[in-house]
Every structure is written in structure tokens, then in C-alpha cells.
Symmetry: C2
Subunit: 350 residues, 2 copies
Amino acid sequence: MNLDDLTRSTGEWLRGEGPLSDVVVSSRIRLARNLAERPFLTTASESDQTEIYRCLANDVTAASDDDAMFVDLNEADPVDRDFLVERNLISRQHASGSGSRGVSISARETRSLMINEEDHLRIQGLRSGFQLETIWEEVNRADDAISDSLSFAFDSQLGYLTACPTNVGTGIRVSVMLHLPGLRLTKEIERVARAARDMHLAVRGLQGEGTEAVGDLYQLSNQTTLGKTEAEIIDAFSTSIIPRIVEYERAARDTLAKKQPVRLDDKIWRAYGLLSNARRIASGETHTLLSPLRMGIFMGRFSKFDVKRWNELFLFTQPAHLQKVHGVSMGERERAIARADYLRDRLGDD
Amino acid sequence: MNLDDLTRSTGEWLRGEGPLSDVVVSSRIRLARNLAERPFLTTASESDQTEIYRCLANDVTAASDDDAMFVDLNEADPVDRDFLVERNLISRQHASGSGSRGVSISARETRSLMINEEDHLRIQGLRSGFQLETIWEEVNRADDAISDSLSFAFDSQLGYLTACPTNVGTGIRVSVMLHLPGLRLTKEIERVARAARDMHLAVRGLQGEGTEAVGDLYQLSNQTTLGKTEAEIIDAFSTSIIPRIVEYERAARDTLAKKQPVRLDDKIWRAYGLLSNARRIASGETHTLLSPLRMGIFMGRFSKFDVKRWNELFLFTQPAHLQKVHGVSMGERERAIARADYLRDRLGDD
């Protein structure tokens, strides 16, 4: 398997079919791990970093499936790195970092093992819909497999030691990507975001830290990993936080459908009209316009295409995906035209 | 012929086929006339007004074709009055005025004779494209026919006397409706409007005095009627003013096509996408979006429908036309929905 194989599909996390997938786009768990007796990357020299990379690359490859793919990010093309960010397989920081670093990606893209991101190793599990238990099993299994042959920096009092103090403890971060157009249209989104922050959750945009919520996509994640077990953290998401927000969003959609059906359909169909007719369109506008269509599909108010097609449109209109598919590097203006062409081609009356 | 017959067509002036019709939507000439020995409407009592109305209605009817239609505006339904304003057969002031007043409309809507608008009588000729000579012949003939049996207020020094001093003299107003989307997109419209004002022309929106230029439609008209003959006034429009502006607009369109073809097509197709998908849409937005489509048709860049269909869309999406066609009175919200339904019906892939 290589990177070009990935351009033929959307990856498991964008299947749009898991539990609660009308609101929960995808779920993610990642563990932060560092090798014992090696400096954290914050203080490591270039050669330390290369040593860590070599040491981990072997074990990570050994612990991966036969079908897994390993990408040396230091050697990878910038477009390929952005491509992996857009697929949520590496972080933006990992892509733009420097020195020896890489990622092992499992066949269905449900698991990625990032070497020398902020920590020496980050084990990520990612699936569509709300599937934290399944992800946790997979991530936990990978963690066990790798730690068989290596020893991680661990303190009996504090737990796992990490480059950034916010990750010390379990080293776990649980994130759930939510699609909340209903709450934005009923102007309740800020209230819900505030409530989430009161529960010590971080609320972020599509690509994590420092990114804006585009297309009504919000990433909710825990901020503390110390003093609670992994099970407790996951349990809080599974039994209370997420089901409650899903209920709010569904109620907002119901209210709109009952009280403002014309406004709702107008929003959906105007977005479709623009996406299927524009001759140039930016990535941000595309995601903004795709948002009401996802809601429309799940509400049974829009049937020009299904969620599978939506996922393709969502993923393949992003800058690096566009360039990968076209096989050429393109500037912003060229991409805007190529994106509009792609959309018309996919949305044309067939 | 009655008002309902009109709902089946667009009238001659919106045929979109006359000379220079890529830029000149329609041409209009009107003459202001007042009966001698009767008070101007500014000082007339209600019974004076009724007297004037009775006196003129007879002669106007006599001077009209057999197929002409006479509408008593004082008795007409408000929607019918607005309907006539939207067709440019009466002015907004004539519609919203009070007391005895009416209009005689010729079969193809090329001529309307307004009684008790601002003056006792206004003789209007209206045709699509740039046809001032043809209109002038028709208007002049009507003026002669009516003045056979009546005498108009006339001063040998000043010429025709009118309610408002700006109309004294020939009493002629020549207006040309121009579609100038190219000049707006190249940001030259203000410069052209300024030049027109320097030539003592009034620059107004679609429905004359006090209206904004919506949909890139500008009405250019002479402001003085004193000290020049009708022929001189018309000649200035025919030989210099209008051909020059048409050249500017065509040059702007050429520049856009050469230098910014994607921007141009994006503008055209996004407008089409919104018009053919919206579930509610205001009259102003409809005209704004129809503008690039008219340009696109004449530039050969848009062929989903022709100018005949464009004219229908332009006229029948206006508030009174929508209500006339539906046969019911509707508020703004209902109209926005009915307008979107009408547009989708007309623009649907057939």
C-alpha cells in the first residue's frame, strides 16, 4: 500500500456510517508515549531525534499489520504531508515539523502511529461515528504490543511522562468530531460550547488546535489526562457528554424542520446551487456550503446524493487532495478552479 | 383586451430584440401636456380633477387603437396598479396617487396615455432596444391626434406649460434603460454616471425617480426640455450619448472576457445556481442575480435559456406580477416562496 492508494477512498473515519453519525462525524483516541532514558523532543538534539526515530520505526513497523504503510515525513513531499493532515492521519504540527519523523498507517486508516510528533510516539485510533470503545481496544492493543519491546517513560506517581505537562498521566486524548449546523442556525451553539468548556473540554475546529470551526464541525476533547483512568475519561464521553450534545443538535434540527422549514430548505438548496455551479471556489467556502447538505441528507430533506458522496466531496476538495488527484502542484487560484471543476463533475446530473 | 391578457406576455419593451439590445433594454419618450384653461393638478380641486379626467378620457379613447385598453386607476385594485408600474405603463406616482385618473394602453403596450399623473396628460411611447425615432413618430402622431379636438396650455415664448417647471418647453422626456453589468464589474460605472450627469442627464434606477439601480439597470434621461427642439434632444441621445455608453459597456465586457473569464463565468453560474435552487428569494435579489445572466446570454457564455425567457423571469418575478399570475394577494414572505417556486419551475431541467 502507498499514498496513492489512499486517493481512491475516503478512509474509515469518513465513512459516515457509525453510531450517531447524523451528528458525530468521527471519534478519535490518541495516547502520548515517550521512550525512557531519551530526552523529550523539546530538548533533544537533531541526532537524538534521529536515534529515537530509528529505534521506534522498527518497533512500530513490527507492531503494525502487514498491510500498513510507513511514511518518512522528513523525506515526504509537502503536498503528501498536507494530504495526511487532511485525512487526520497526522497533525498539522507533525507535517510542518523538522528532522526525522514518520507515521505508520494501518490499512483502513483506523490507526496511525506517529513518531516524533510532539512526543516520541503517538498512537492514534480513528473511526467514523461514535465508536470510542472499539477505538480504545485497538489503541490499547497497539500500546501493549509496542511496549513489549520498549520501555516508556513512566512515573509510578504521575503515570506516563510527556513533552507537554497537559498530557502527563494517562497520556490519553479523546476527541469527537461533531457536526452541529442545527445549533448554529438556532443560535444555541455558543451556549453548548460554553457548557462543554465548563466540563473542562476543549472545543476546536476541524484540524485541531488553533483551527476555526469551518463547516459547523467542532472537535470536542478532554483537556486533563491526570487523576482519572482512561476508562473514566472515555466513559464520561460515552455516557453523558456526547449523547447530550447529540440530543441538543437533534432537537435544534427538529425545531427548524417544524418552525422554519422554508429557511432550512433554502439554506440547503442554495448551498447545492452554488456548489454545483461555481467556476471557482475556496476550500473554506466549500466546507461552509457542504455543511447544510450533510444535515439535509440525514434529515431526509436532500437526496441529490448520499453521505458517501458527501464524504468524498468533503475530503477531495481540500487543497492537498485536489493536488494529489490531479498529480500536479497548484497555487490557490488554480486550486479554486480545479475544485469547482471537481464539484461540477461530481454533482452534474448523471 | 383586459389586464389579465397582459399576464400572458412580456410587452414589446421587454422583447429584448431591438437595436443595441445587448446593452439597451428599452427606450421611452413621454410628452407632458395640460389642458388650456384648466388648473394644474397641483392646485386643482377634486372636482376639477374629475372634470379633466372626463374630458380627456373621451378624447384619449377616441385617439387610441381599437385594441387599446382603458384602465380607471381610481377604481383599480392596488395589485393591478402595481402590475402596470412593473410593466412601465404608468409611473409609481400615478399608481399611488388619488382621485380620478386613468391610462389607455395600446395593444402591444408600445404606447400609454396617462391621465392625471403629474400633468393632465402624459403621452408615453415605449419599445425594446434603441428605437427613439420609431417611438417619436408614434408619440408625435398621438399628440397631434389628441390636440385636434383639445387645446393644450401653450405659451408662444415658453412652449408647453406644465405642472413642474422642469418640464416646461417641449415637455419631452427621453429615457433609455441601459444594462451595464460590465461597467460595474470593471468599477467604471461611477465614472460613466458622472459623465452622464455632466451632460445634464438624470441617472436613475429601473422605475424612475427615487429608485435605486437594481440589477445593473440604469435609466438615463434628459433633464431640460426648454431651449431645444424635440429633434435636437432625441438626436443627442441617438448620435452621441447612447452609442458612446454602449461602446464603453461592450469594451468592459470584452476586457472581462479576456482578462477575467473565470471571474465572469463564476458570477454568471453562481447566479444561475441560486436562482434555480432557492426556496425563497426577494425581488431585489432576483434582479441582482438575473443581471449577470442577461450579460452572459448576449456574450454567448450562458445558454441555459434565451433572452425571451430572461425577460419573462425578469417581469414575472416582480411582486404584482407574481400575485396576478397566482390570482391571490400575497405578503412579502409568501411572495418570496412563490417567486422561488416560479423560478425553479421555469429553470428546471426540461
